[in-house]
Amino acid sequence: MRASRVLTFARYEARRAVARKKVLALVALTILIGTAPYYLLDVIHTSLVTPPIRPYMWVLGVFLPQAFFVQFTALLIAAGSMSEEYEQGTAEVLLSKPVSREEYFFGKYLGGYSLLVSIVTLDAMLSVTSATFVFGPQMGLGILPLTVLSQMLAASVFYSVAFMFGELMRRSSLSYIVSASVFFTSEVIGVYLNVLFSLTGSGIYRTANLYLPTSSVDSLPLLLAEPKLPSVVLTILRFGATPVEPSVLVSALLILAYTLTAVIVSLAYFGSMDVAKRVT
């Protein structure tokens, strides 16, 4: 596998994703999410933002989109990455060149993922900038790089799942629906298991919850940030999500396991199947 070809496909994929209007819409939404809430809070409910919270307002914009917006973005970018090439009939021209399927596969995977990473980074930067601008100097920013990195890693789970369904189904809308269903089902089951655990105290519900893909995805950034944030900020954050996983290591391992499984399955399928003519 040659790195230059992987890079060629990665650049191509990023360019292709940007050319799609829905990805542009996501970038616009990222800008909105990273800025608008701060200005709204400032204008409408300034009294809600008490002095101890003001220096940590950046946390809101960085952490709250993690549970839905970042995962939704991952699904949207990845579900069409492979499948749209089949639907548009462009896969056969790209693969009729002297490039290996692995170069094509990893190039496209990394290209879309780099776009996702850019969106996560953009959201973090906008949140910190807006919080500073509206609520004054921000504190605890030392944990920001690790938080953003953990969000990037966590986002790889549903990015890879959607990428896998895109290859398996070769229909963008179907792969998006299926991968989104997996995501929402996992979230909903997680909520039910939490409620059942609270009501019954039975460990089986807690254990089952640990293995849901959304649990590790939601937990990792929070687990990393929790020790470094004041309790008043953590209280606010827990409105959004509570870490389910017992440790950073377990959470990271589960994320890697889900990501690698999806990548291996899709690569094996792609490597063994015919390159479809235009899928209609």
Partner: protein
């Protein structure tokens, strides 16, 4: 496998089993320097054959080789000098022609210094003035030209062209024809699938005819016509005073001539396929005192031969 060294393409008992439909077994080869017209009705297996050759689909059984290499297992080596233009050129509409050719060059491992070469290619296919337009804004014919252009990037030794002339205006057809001839003159090989038989007749040096997943003919154009037609029609064009009764009688009496039909430009002579009386007919016209303006087989012979061949295979 006993392949000849100049054998560019080899199919040996290659089969693609789709379940309800089976393509093959296909056995044929293409030598370097040929322009092969790949003919067959819709759904006969042309695209499957081409896609097996490009390593896009895996044969269920049999052997497929491109430059003596397996296009699936040795994809990078086998495809190193191959240019492919698909039947429906579904190109990336968000790119410009220049960007598409640059992408293709990068896929081929060529660097930025090929920029001049890319512009030359766009010039060759008549798209240089549209180099920076979005492909989405190009007409169907322009996209077809671009599809051929991307196949020409790098140093292809073989062009695999699926219906390359569709949507191309007459000037473009002439331009492409000359470009393809130059390509072969420079040592290249072309496999061209087409339904425009006049184009195939004008350009191709040999034919591969496939029907219902089976190769029904492989050989020269002339051989195919000979094999598929029971008789041949010769157009004889004469100047004033035209085809006289005595000339018609003389030609009618020649061995193998089955019918002579005088018309406004001369006559149409039908002959048994195994007979070639062109020299005798030319001599007869000249001796009759009429100037001989033209003597050629009917332009629609390949069409007739093709239709006959397909009909016979279907029966």
């Amino acid at each position: 496998m006993g392949q000849r060294l100049d054998e560019v393409v080899t199919f040996q008992q290659a089969v693609k089993d789709y379940g309800p439909k089976v393509i093959g077994p296909i056995t044929f080869s293409v030598q370097g320097g040929e322009i092969v017209g790949f003919l067959g009705p819709n759904g006969s297996g042309k695209s499957t054959t081409i896609r097996m050759l490009l390593g896009l689909i895996k044969p269920t059984s049999g052997v497929v080789r491109l430059f003596q290499k397996d296009p699936l297992r040795e994809h990078v080596k086998a495809l190193a000098h191959v240019g492919y233009s698909p039947e429906l050129p579904n190109l990336q509409s968000f790119l410009s022609p220049r960007e598409l050719l640059r992408l293709t060059a990068r896929e081929l491992g060529l660097d930025e210094e090929t920029n001049t070469q890319l512009i030359d290619i766009l010039e060759d296919v008549g798209l240089v003035q549209y180099a920076d337009y979005k492909i989405a804004k190009l007409s169907k014919g322009m996209v077809q030209r671009l599809s051929v252009a991307q196949a020409m990037v790098g140093t292809p030794k073989i062009l695999i062209l699926d219906e390359p002339m569709i949507g191309i205006d007459p000037a473009g057809v002439v331009q492409f024809r000359s470009m393809f001839r130059d390509f072969v003159k420079d040592g290249g090989t072309i496999i061209m699938s087409s339904h425009i038989l006049s184009e195939v007749e004008a350009l191709c040096t040999s034919l591969a005819v496939i029907h219902s997943g089976r190769m029904v003919f492989r050989g020269g154009v002339e051989g195919f016509i000979q094999q598929s037609l029971s008789s041949r029609s010769l157009v004889v064009e004469v100047g004033l005073p035209g085809a006289t009764e005595s000339l018609v009688r003389r030609i009618s009496s020649m061995p193998g001539v089955t019918r002579v039909t005088p018309n406004t430009t001369g006559m149409l002579v039908e002959m048994k396929k195994e007979v070639d009386s062109r020299a005798e007919i030319a001599k007869a016209v000249v001796e009759s005192g009429s100037p001989l303006l033209g003597l050629h087989y009917s332009g629609s012979e390949l069409d007739e031969a093709y239709i006959n061949a397909i009909r016979l295979t279907t029966q």
